[in-house]
């Protein structure tokens, strides 16, 4: 027996003596994340219903495949073949690795899925079921150290999704100066992504955290202070932005399938 049941420790047979409902939090996280993963997988392979009248789903942007609808591409740029090894590649599959990687290596999400999926530990002071534990010291989890690169990639995507949000201020005829519910949805979703990126721990490190003496770098110190404030709410931004992206995709899909009508304010 190891862990809390090791021979030298106080003899207590329960895995935990916590009396609160400690399992609720990981259970909710598990449910929500799993739903998102299932939905995202379905959407990633769907390869359709991602564009309608200058609204593009964030799951499919940038649309880089030859298979993309021409209107959904960035100025018609399609560097990726539609098929690889005879497999018809959904445009989403090409780019989803980046936001997915950003979130998978995110310091907040790591906490939440290690707890809720891997139960390592399920909650604080609740014994975990695993015999051995090596943390993030070896492959594959050592890859978590590449978080900063996904953060950089995330910034590029944020620019593109913001560009998508700007484009959505067109009417179906392509004239500027119009706004629909869809434009709002994309705007909110891309803004939340900026907050999620800006509050990221790697961002905080890059912008100033790695410095030894702040006083010699007043501008970076100021930026670091702001990012630190946002960083307190990284968890919230992680969930809000996830919900934002998911809802933006659902919205675009519903509009694309004709189930919902995109209402134009003006």
């Amino acid at each position: 027996m190891s862990g809390v049941f090791s021979p030298t420790r106080a003899k207590i047979k329960e895995r935990t003596l916590r009396t609160d409902k400690w399992w609720i939090q990981p259970a909710i996280t598990f449910g929500v994340l799993l739903s998102f993963v299932i939905y995202a997988t379905f959407r990633a392979f769907e390869g359709a219903n991602y564009y309608k009248d200058h609204l593009i789903s964030p799951f499919y942007s940038p649309c880089l495949s030859e298979a993309c609808l021409p209107e959904a591409t960035i100025l018609g740029w399609t560097p990726v073949s539609a098929e690889i090894f005879n497999f018809a590649l959904s445009p989403a599959l090409i780019i989803l690795i980046f936001p997915l990687g950003f979130r998978m290596t995110c310091y907040y999400y790591r906490k939440s899925y290690y707890r809720s999926f891997w139960m390592s530990p399920p909650a604080c002071a609740v014994a975990e079921p695993h015999k051995k534990y090596t943390g993030e010291t070896r492959f594959p989890l050592i890859i978590q150290n590449s978080h900063r690169y996904f953060f950089y990639a995330g910034l590029v995507l944020n620019v593109i999704l913001t560009y998508d949000a700007v484009i959505s201020f067109k009417n179906p005829e392509g004239e500027w100066g119009h706004m629909s519910v869809g434009s709002l949805v994309l705007l909110v979703s891309s803004t939340l992504l900026w907050f999620y990126s800006a509050s990221c721990h790697s961002c905080r490190h890059t912008i100033g955290g790695r410095l030894k003496n702040f006083s010699k770098h007043p501008v970076r110190y100021k930026l670091w202070s702001w990012v630190s404030v946002l960083n307190h709410s990284h968890q919230q931004f992680a969930w809000y932005s996830l919900a934002g992206v998911a809802f933006a995709d659902i919205y675009v899909r519903q509009v694309a399938t004709g189930a919902w009508t995109n209402f134009y304010f003006f």
């Binding site: 190891s2 862990g3 021979p7 009396t19 014994a127 943390g135 900063r148 721990h201 030894k212």
Partner: protein, 252 residues
Amino acid sequence: MARKINLRIWRGDATDGGLQDVQVEANEGEVVLDVIHRVQATQMGDLAVRWNCKAGKCGSCSMEINGKPRLACMTQVATYGDETITVTPLRAFPVIKDLVTDVSFNYKKAMEIPAFEPPKELVPGEARMQQVDVERSQEFRKCIECFLCQDVCHVVRDHEENKKSFAGPRFFIRIAELDMHPLDTLKNRKRTAQEEHGLGMCNITKCCTEVCPEHIKITDNAIIPMKERVADIKYDPVRWLGSKIRKREGIV
């Protein structure tokens, strides 16, 4: 107003032990340590419990109260209402007797963290540091060494064998404190943090931060920044190349 409460106390030693129920009086505003002391003075004269200041400043009365690592002197009896309060010793360390555990693991780890090294030419009294430069390390120096973070950390709590290779949250904040200390000149803190003190074992599940009675942001302000600093020197090819080309601050 005094009332009777139910207390369940773990009693025993390394060979055997179990929970014992007692009824004890509790007055308004009392903390768990108060009622334990009352049990000691009136019912169990030899009940072993560590404590010192009774003001949340020394970190001696660490134990587990209803399964959660806490300071008994900072835990109000009233928060549990009519619930039975269960107190046990820390479950990550070998038990000595009753609520007292052998925390020597922590002192051993403390010895292994390379000490502060000021610049050789620095004359006492001549040090100049800006407040903004000392604040990060000051947060970590608030640590009262209650070792609740060490107790809750599943890396050692659930895996006795990891104690060899893992220094624990308390000492990650110590490493971070020194690495961010404006006057520290020791090279290789980041590398040894990863390679000798087990920083990579941490999977940032944040229980250390949750239990810290000093509210030190252990994970966000020490462990993650240290992981990022380690990435700078070990896992980021671009930074690594940059450091070879020109000496940059922070890359040591």
